[in-house]
Amino acid sequence: GSNDDGGSGSDEGKTIALLLPETKTTRYESFDKPLFEAKVKELCDSCKVDYLNADQDASKQQQQAESAITNGASVLVLDPVDGKAATTIVKSAQGSDVPVVAYDRFIEGADYYISFDNERVGQMQGEALIEATGGKGDILMLNGSPTDPNAAQFKKGAHSAIDGSGLNVVAEYDNPDWSPDNAQKFTSSQFNKVDPGDLAGVYAANDGQAGGVFAAFKAGGAAELPPITGQDAELAAIQRIVAGQQFMTVYKPIKAEADQAAELAVDLANEEKISGTEDFQGVPSFILDPIAVKKDNVGDTVVKDEFYSVEDICTSEYAKACEDAGLS
Amino acid sequence: MTAPVLSMRGINKRFGAVQALTDVDFDVRPGEVVALVGDNGAGKSTLVKIIAGVYGADSGAIEVEGREVQIHGPKSAQALGIATVFQDLALADNLDVVANLFLGQEATSTGVLDEETMESRSWELLRQLSAKIPSVRIPIAALSGGQRQTVAIARSLVGEPKIVMLDEPTAALGVAQTAEVLNLIERLRESGLGVVVISHNMADVQAVADRIYVLRLGRNAAEFHIDDVTTDQLVAAITGASDNVVAARRARSEGADVAPNPQGHLPEENA
């Protein structure tokens, strides 16, 4: 292998590569990366983190993994663009004696796996919607991009919850590029068929789309908003939740995930023994629980975790809503 | 008299609101040089382009060697043995002189372009026309106007046509090159080809043509045998009036009055 620093027990100049999938949602650049880097720094002062982002392109990610190995990485922490296709990266890295930690999304054959389960996320969104609507009425479903393999997992999870319930899906849409504009256009065109007031709820796979759905309802002159789901706990979504414009979002306590990954990576780099894992499809794993954030638990989740400060959320626009929600 | 190698009857062509050709008739016999003259915009180039397959006629019949033909495009005109030098030259600016000369008729050996044969043959052709081209390996874009025209004319000598049409071939040529082209036209006639020449230079026309067609505003205005016509008659037929600016200039420069030809001498219309 080319891992020329490998084999020594000291933590002198270890490099840990962090490979993230995309830049179009904020979590990766704003949270995963800084949190991971901070934790690594804390655990191992001389360790270096190589950060790479694949812009939602599987072959680019493969190149980046190769670059990281070239650059002497001792561990790859890999959040794959495409979990299935990333098995190649795993094999190639393992061929160079570099262990791979599957981060956030599952990769078959990875050395370790740390995540929230994608299907579980979809399921939680679906369940929240059932809860909010009482399990009956017409809903719209806006899924993620048809060209994003993970979107299919969210979709599958959501359907597993919704299909058995009494909810009736009037229209379903796989949104290219997860685009909020498309979400808005799709939703407003459905208003030709269904009166906005008659919709019991809207399943939106992520917060960006939830924003588009909200804009469509508002522009459509809806008197009352039905429950809208989301994912990622974007600041804009939290603000909407506080203001009662979005029902819920799925918050993955990224800090826990990133910290766990950093510990694991440093241990692996130092070739220490790992314990406390559970088995997930044959891979030793740390499975974390995502949290559904609704108006009543904003304070106990994202604020408590210092994901956002109250000042972040409660801009002048949302000050009143914050007060009502008991955020201060 | 031999049968015409090319014969056109009742050709009409309209562009938008402009009727460019109205009922035009036209014949060329083998071993004959036919001149086509007329004022600017008279329709000469349009007629040539119809024969060359660039435009389709709106109506009218074309016969080549006695058989009625449909000319579907430049390729089918070439298949009928018609070679054309267009007024707008139609050269590929980005290619060099050799490539343009042999465009569509490239010499190959074992499937690969035979550059050496083409290059030395190019020098021969160009020397025949006294071309003053420093190198045949520069793109056409870098040639002077006259050099381009020489290349376009040389193109028509590659291949073995039955009819050669030259649309204002000497417009941009120097005196020596013009003389060579006139020589060339005579050589073509001698080898039995039908030659069509368009020119605004009456001296050149009278020097090489056997027969002259005059087009005016898209119609056959007159047809002359070379022996039966004077320059003044020709000019009068082209401009449609005998007391024209050309005569006036000549009169002024000669310091004498030229007796105007009575217009009645000209055939009013051919159709």
């Binding site: 588009g212 600041l235 | 562009f15």
Partner: protein, 408 residues
């Protein structure tokens, strides 16, 4: 007749109704039809979708269509301009996203007033365009490469401006949101508009008419001018009436159409516009004619980026938020495609700003129709491609006809 421009005897000048009819037939066959083929394509798309789902032509859906078209349609206006020069701008998406972000961040985080923020966003666009223009004219870098670099660089800038929290919600009571979503002409005003448009047309044509006859040039018949003015008024009033069944004529689409009409005027009736066409048709000839070719390039790139910025601002208002995905890859493709579908040539010198209008309507109609019908993602892609091709083939066939009849 002895008009200066009707003297040539080759001009076919029969003005009897029958001759005019046969002339129309000739024009149909020869393809000299301007925007008509695209409009025909649009009408066919509308009929097909209507037959699949009769809500497609409901007043409500048409209002939505007009609102959805206006944002990227605005960007497409700028694209038409660069295409007229035979250049391209691949970065309009990024520039619109960046401007939207500048607007949102100034407005929400910096507490600037709305107008100031909008101006700043537009200025950002303008500066980018001027920068492109200078790069192009000074160094001769192909605009494809300049704007490809811009696409990347300004996407980076957008991410940077938005900062770590990403998506920014505009204040819910912002006048921009109001303008982009809820401002519609009251019915009476829409009919006044129709009357104004008709009268304006009539007056302008009458002025031309009198000036032409003063200059001893042929004139169209007064009667036909009046008929046209009446038809235009009726058409606008009809559209207004139908849209008024729902919310009416939106302020944002009206701005868009207004900008198109204004740009069309600038292009066809001013020296600058004339120079845009001449530079696009033959840059060398224009340079030799003493035209400040560089200035034309810079002005057009600047306008294009500014329209992109304006589109970004409107899109922010319409979505009521700005995010990292604002102005994503689709935006570029849609904006350029609209211009090309409308019949503007990629090679410069031929086209009209109206192609942004009709091209965008074609694209949005397909999207909206497929949204209403509701199909699987893969079918959606395939049908979009096929319909797009069909719509443009009509236009191309008519152009083809023109070419083979030698009049193009």
């Amino acid at each position: 007749m002895s008009f200066a421009d009707r003297a040539d005897e080759r001009l076919v000048q029969d003005t009897s109704p029958r001759a005019m009819l046969s002339n129309l037939g000739r024009r149909l066959r020869s393809g000299d039809l301007g925007m008509i083929p695209v409009v025909v394509g649009l009408v066919i798309i509308w009929i097909v979708f209507y037959s699949l789902n009769d809500r497609f032509l409901s007043a409500r859906n048409l209002v939505e269509l007009s609102l959805d078209s206006a944002t990227i349609g605005m960007i497409s206006v700028g694209i038409v301009l660069v295409l007229l020069l035979g250049e391209i701008d691949l970065s309009v998406g990024s520039v619109s996203g960046l401007s939207g972000s500048v607007l949102a961040v100034l407005l929400v985080y910096q507490g600037w007033p709305l107008l100031g923020s909008i101006l700043a966003a537009l200025c950002a666009g303008l500066l980018i365009g001027v920068f492109y223009g200078l790069l192009y004219t000074r160094f001769g870098v192909p605009s494809f490469v300049i704007t490809l670099a811009g696409l990347l660089a300004f996407l980076g800038a957008q991410l940077n401006v938005l900062g770590k929290n990403g998506t920014v919600n505009l204040p819910g009571d912002s006048a921009l949101i109001e303008f982009a979503n809820f401002t519609f002409l009251p019915p009476w005003l829409s009919y006044v508009l129709a009357a104004v448009v008709g009268t304006g047309y009539l007056l302008a044509r009458m002025r031309t008419l009198s000036r032409r006859s003063a200059a001893n040039l042929s004139t169209p018949r007064l009667r036909s001018v009046v008929v046209r003015a009446v038809v235009i008024t009726a058409a606008v009033a009809g559209v207004a009436w139908y849209l008024n069944l729902d919310r009416g004529i939106g302020a944002m689409p009206l701005l868009w159409v207004g900008v198109i009409i204004a740009m069309d005027f600038l292009l066809r009736r001013t020296t600058w516009g004339r120079h845009v066409f001449s530079v696009g048709g033959n840059e060398e000839a224009s340079r030799r004619a003493g035209i400040g070719v560089d200035r034309v390039y810079v002005s057009v790139f600047a306008l294009c980026s500014m329209f992109a910025a304006l589109g970004g601002v409107l899109a922010a208002g319409r979505l009521q938020a700005v995010s990292q995905t604002s102005g994503g890859t689709d935006t570029n493709l849609m904006a350029i495609a609209a211009a090309v579908i409308g019949g503007t040539s990629l090679f410069g010198g031929r086209g009209s700003v109206y192609s942004a209008l009709f091209g965008m309507l074609v694209l949005q109609s397909i999207t909206s129709g497929l949204n209403l019908i509701g199909v699987d993602a893969y079918v959606r892609y395939m049908v979009t491609g096929a319909v797009l091709l069909l719509a443009v083939t009509i236009d191309s066939l008519s152009r083809q006809a023109r070419k083979s009849s030698g009049s193009g």
